[in-house]
Amino acid sequence: MDFFAWLDWIERTGFSTWLRESPSLLAFPSVIVLHTVGLAFLVGTNIAVDLRILGFASRIPLAPMERFFPVMWAGFWVNAASGVALLIAYPAKAFTDPVFYIKLLCIALGVTSIRMIQKQVFGDPSLDARAVPRKSKLLAGASLFFWIGAITAGRLLAYTATRFMAYD
């Protein structure tokens, strides 16, 4: 089966057709809403942690901010699930758009940066006893950059797509 035949097969599944064609608000619109809410929890909370590592509001102790990581990961999983649903609804639209691959790359790097921050920055027992090391600040800056990239690329997908279905 070639690539487009495979995308066409996904588009013909019951779930894909329901997501695209159902007039119910529980179909496509709900998935989009979940993707937006997850984004706010994941990226927004990450922005707060990154800015603190970079030196904003430096009187906030860093160590207890680790409690916000589960909030970020909850946002991530909501978006992984809703993102897969959006992909099932319009697989050809995403896979034929180079911007989609940029978005995926930004997410992979963004997730890696969050994991490294959680392990390296927050795993340091002397975290609040000394100045934030330069390496931690670089990680936080990179994390901000990747998530801004992911949001920009992701939101532009609606305008950069050239093909909507496998066989248009």
């Binding site: 809410v37 984004l39 904003f56």
Partner: protein, 158 residues
Amino acid sequence: MSFLLWLESTGFGTFVRESESLFAYPTFIVLHTFGLSIVVGISVVVGTRLMGLAPTIPLAPLNKLFPIMWFGFAINLFSGSGLAAAAASTTIPNPLFIAKIIFVLTAVAVMVVLQVKVFRDPEVDDKPLDTMSKALGGSLLALWLLAMISGRLITYIA
């Protein structure tokens, strides 16, 4: 109605709607998403802290996060004005849009009250947090959730 049609026909409204450039409508949409993640994300930190998550973070220094929230709100006030002007005659009368604006304005009022009454109080960390402040923290999150839901659905319910 004539005001809304005029708003659509202004240079600003026409540019956002009709320019082929990625700098027009798509950029306003991207900015609106950035602003959202800043305002809502920082509100998640402030709101969940008020509700009891991470109780070892002192409240007073969280006051420093408010300018970041207001910065995100300013981005969305600007980008939102562009998006609303571009489709004024269809968007502004939409009940979902009106609901969204009510949620946003109420959330902004809650932010102001929290900033002035809770976070600028020099003794905020010397006494247990009152129920009102916890409720305001929860309300802020609920209002942003409702604003995001109604806002994102505007595209699908015309």
